[in-house]
């Protein structure tokens, strides 16, 4: 346990440097992009003195390093400035948008994990049979098709033709959302005992979450399959077979666990990517998520929002990587957490 805590502490300490570096990079990039953010926010007809006032408020007339100083000082106190698009504090925006994206990513992650691993396992177990070929074709289709194409396809099938699933937002109009505890509606609904809201939210989640999961789950299926096929040829499996251990036991007890290591490594990265890359799916389903917010921020040159969104996504990647490393270390103790070497 102590080793794990030490590992997490070390990684978190390193991540501070990563985030500071990332913040400087994105801070500079956002500011050298063409366009006067104050003018863009206020419109073509806003008088010059109003534009100038906003520039002053945002310290845009100061040198870059001074601007960064003001920004970093605020950020350390949880103040990321005001969004030029939503006109409220970026911290509040993140608080509002992040849970929506997180909820989407969580459910997409469930589909990704379960379906991807199941498909990969079946494919690996029945390697080079028609089952394997079928899963291969499905996986290739999933990998090459962008998530927004799946989104449009699912909307047409399940909402337009069959009319069984909704297309807009997180809840049906008229449904009062549960009091916000986590911001993730399905969790809040369960916490507050609002099961009708839970199922309504789940209904809204299905299509966008599956759309986002299709690509990554196909990738995970292929990786799981490749890893399984690789491991099944190893000596220890042959040895277990010669001892008469049932195939099912070999599969679930001795083969699957080591075969999942590369899958889990990719899974962590995919999960984090969903948060940042979901803007088209969020747009199609009118999902009020962080990705769409970030995209709008980019288009409108919303400086504070751009920096904050990139930092949040960077943080998610860091956490996802730590979780992946911990999981991999648990699955294969030989890999370990890399603490011994550093302590030697």
């Amino acid at each position: 346990m102590g080793r794990t805590i030490k590992f997490i502490a070390k990684r978190l300490a390193f991540s501070v440097f990563v985030l500071v570096g990332l913040s400087i990079l994105i801070f500079v990039i956002a500011r050298v992009m063409p366009g006067n953010p104050a003018r863009m926010a206020l419109g073509a007809r806003a008088p010059e003195w109003v534009v100038e006032r906003l520039r002053e408020e945002m310290h845009l007339n100061e040198p870059l390093y001074v601007q960064y100083y003001y920004w970093a000082k605020g950020a350390l106190h949880g103040n990321f400035g005001i969004s030029l698009v939503t006109r409220r504090s970026v911290a509040n925006d993140i608080k509002a948008f992040f849970p929506a994206s997180l909820e989407l990513a969580l459910y997409a992650g469930i589909f990704m994990g379960i379906i991807g691993i199941v498909l990969g396992t079946i494919s690996g177990w029945y390697a080079n049979t028609w089952v394997d070929n079928l899963v291969r074709i499905i996986s290739y289709m999933g990998i090459v098709t962008p998530s927004f194409v799946f989104a449009i396809f699912f909307v047409l099938i399940f909402s337009y033709v069959l009319e069984i699933l909704p297309t807009i937002g997180r809840l049906t109009p008229g449904v009062v959302p549960p009091p916000s505890v986590t911001g993730v509606i399905t969790f809040d609904a369960l916490i507050t005992g609002r099961f009708d809201v839970f199922f309504d939210a789940l209904k809204h989640l299905l299509l966008p979450a599956i759309s986002l999961a299709m690509g990554p789950l196909s990738q995970e299926a292929r990786i799981t399959r490749a890893s399984l096929v690789d491991n099944v040829q190893k000596d220890y499996i042959a040895s277990e077979r010669s001892c008469g251990i049932p195939e099912r036991t070999i599969m679930f007890k001795y083969l699957l666990k080591p075969s999942l290591i590369p899958t889990i490594t990719i899974y962590g990265l995919d999960f984090a990517s969903i948060l940042g890359n979901a803007f088209l799916v969020e747009l199609i389903f009118n999902w009020p998520g962080l990705s769409r917010y970030g995209m709008n921020a980019m288009l409108q040159k919303d400086l504070n929002a751009i920096t904050a969104v990139v930092l949040v996504l960077g943080l998610v990647f860091i956490i996802a990587n730590i979780v992946v490393d911990l999981t991999v270390g648990y699955l294969d103790p030989r890999i370990g957490l890399g603490t011994e070497r550093s302590s030697e």
Binding site: N36, R45, V50, T167, G174, L206, P288
Partner: protein, 538 residues
């Protein structure tokens, strides 16, 4: 029971639960979709969705009729001084804000002072206001810097706030001194109005939900929507699905032609068309070679195939007649229209000093990447110009880059394809914003006209309080612009909104169009029939 049967039963139960609908609480919901964000603070919002929300949440002193003429609203009567510098407004008594307090002259003064101090949104329309004075509880006086003829028309953009409510919700410190943030944070998600609808919920990131004001001072038809929802998406597949499921009553006007065709085929859906007040221009840079040559510009004007534009590229639109959209009061219906005539185009081109060097002077046409039809327009232009030997290069860029490109004379392209709407319903609005020298370097003027004679003409027209005299002056300025040929006046844009003709009655779709952005979607004039909707859903 076998394991697989159990799994099947659990799956069926889950599907059953998920299929349960949760009905909306509203009896007559009315839903529209918009590009986001929407600002409901009268001192901040000025785009289409914000204007529509403001019209529903707030009251104004005057209300436009279908000709754009001012009708009494909160102003019961008014008079203007002989020199045109003092406007005295007598307010209607007994008007109640949503919280029940009475609307008085103090609220009017507070709202105007706040708008001018903040300086955002529609504040630029009120530069002419020198001060606002409360004469008594129901009389307010506006003192102007100079006479301003379209005063009543710009007042359609002045929304009256509940002073006490805003003051009670000011956050200090803020950028406005003693006034802190002037209530901006509060008004981001709350209203302080007296309009026919009031805010019920506004998750900024998703939708604005308004509910009917039960004690509105004008009787509202019992079939008017009891809830009005503005949803933040324009995605065609989402819109099409929501329309087909009768979850959207009026769709946005930016749907592509293919989506409109598909929607029109659905039973109970029709495309409501009316002149949007928007005009689409090819703004020609008059300072950059070769378009600095008037003959070169006229050659382009003669060579463009306007009929193909209005029939094929933007079907249903109307060819423009000069710089002012013909739906606007003050537009001159006698202004000359160019038609495609290659002989005349060549004759003009031969008079141009660039005639023998056409290959050295390609014309760059910049246009926003959205809507997609802009590109078809640019390709048609390229093809038409090739017919007379003019080489065209297209530059498709995001909207933000268009603004950037047009911000300086050096970076400005030869031609910029942009649509512009009037800021208030009068010809003077477009003439001023499109061609006056102080609008160069904005996205509304790529012409870089910088013509002092024109500036004097439009200023004189705008200072003329007498409406008929003012309109005569507008005509002269329109003719003056036509003579300079700084623009290809392509078409007046029709707003095409798919709507549920099967169960809503929408005056604008019947031709009762108010030529002021946002007013055609005032919920109190729209009627919703739930029984007919239920029939369509069967």
């Amino acid at each position: 029971m076998s394991k697989s049967v159990k799994i099947l039963l659990v799956t069926l139960c889950l599907i059953g639960i998920l299929s349960l609908g949760v009905a909306s609480a509203a009896e007559r919901p009315f839903r529209t979709n918009w590009s986001w964000p929407t600002y409901i603070d009268p001192a901040v919002g000025s785009d289409f969705s914000s204007s529509t929300a403001l019209v529903n949440l707030y009251d104004t002193l005057f209300y436009p009729d279908i000709k754009g003429d001012p009708q009494p609203h909160i102003a019961e009567s008014w008079e203007v001084s002989a020199d045109g510098l003092v406007w005295t407004i007598h307010l209607r008594q007994g008007i109640k804000f949503h919280d029940g307090t009475e609307l008085t002259a103090e609220d009017v003064k507070f709202s105007m002072d706040r708008l001018i101090t903040i300086g955002e949104g529609y504040a630029y329309l009120f530069k002419v206001i020198k001060s606002t004075e409360v004469l008594d509880k129901y009389t307010v006086v506006f003192h102007l810097n100079h006479p301003f003829g379209p005063f009543e028309a710009v007042m359609y953009r002045f929304y009256i706030l509940n002073k006490d409510l805003v003051m009670a919700n000011i956050e200090r410190p803020g950028p406005y001194g003693d006034m802190g943030d002037y209530g901006k944070q509060y008004l981001l998600t709350h209203d302080a109005g007296s309009g026919p609808y009031m805010v019920k919920a506004f998750p900024l990131e998703e939708y604005l939900l308004m509910t009917i004001h039960p004690n509105y001072w004008i009787p509202i038809d019992p079939n008017a929507p009891d809830e009005y929802k503005m949803i933040g998406t324009c995605e065609p597949v989402t819109v099409r699905t929501a329309m087909s499921r009768r979850e959207l009553e009026i769709a946005d006007r930016w749907q592509p032609v293919e989506a409109l065709d598909a929607l029109e085929k659905i039973n109970g859906i029709k495309i409501g068309e009316f002149d949007s007040g928007l005009s689409y221009y090819y703004m020609v840079n008059t300072k950059k070679p070769p378009t600095d040559d008037i003959h070169f510009r006229k050659a382009m004007a003669w060579a463009l195939d306007y009929k193909t534009v209005i029939n094929k590229v933007f079907p249903g639109s109307i060819q423009s007649r000069g710089p002012v959209n013909q739906s606007l009061p003050g537009a001159d219906p006698t202004i000359f229209q160019y038609q495609r005539n290659l002989d005349k185009a060549m004759a003009e081109l031969k008079q141009s000093k660039y005639y023998n060097q056409l290959d050295e002077y390609p014309v760059v046409v910049a246009f926003p990447s959205v809507p997609a039809d802009n590109e078809k327009m640019a390709l048609l232009f390229m093809s038409n110009m090739a017919d007379i030997g003019i080489k065209v290069e297209t530059l498709k860029v995001p909207w933000a880059s268009i603004i950037e490109i047009m911000a300086s004379e050096e970076t400005s392209s030869h031609v910029a394809g942009v649509s512009v709407a009037p800021h208030y319903p009068e010809a003077g609005s477009l003439l001023e914003s499109r061609y006056k020298s102080d609008s160069v370097a904005t996205w509304e003027q790529n012409e870089w006209l910088l013509d002092s004679k024109f500036d004097a003409m439009i200023e004189d027209a705008l200072k003329t309080v007498n409406r008929e005299e003012r309109f005569v002056k507008y005509s002269k300025t329109q003719q003056y612009i036509m003579d300079l040929c700084p623009t290809l006046f392509i078409f007046d844009m029709m707003a095409k909104h798919p709507y549920q003709v099967g169960y809503i009655d929408w005056p604008a779709a019947r031709g009762e169009v108010i030529p002021v952005m946002g007013y055609n979607l005032a919920g109190r004039f729209i009627k919703v029939y739930p029984d007919k909707r239920a029939e369509l859903l069967k």
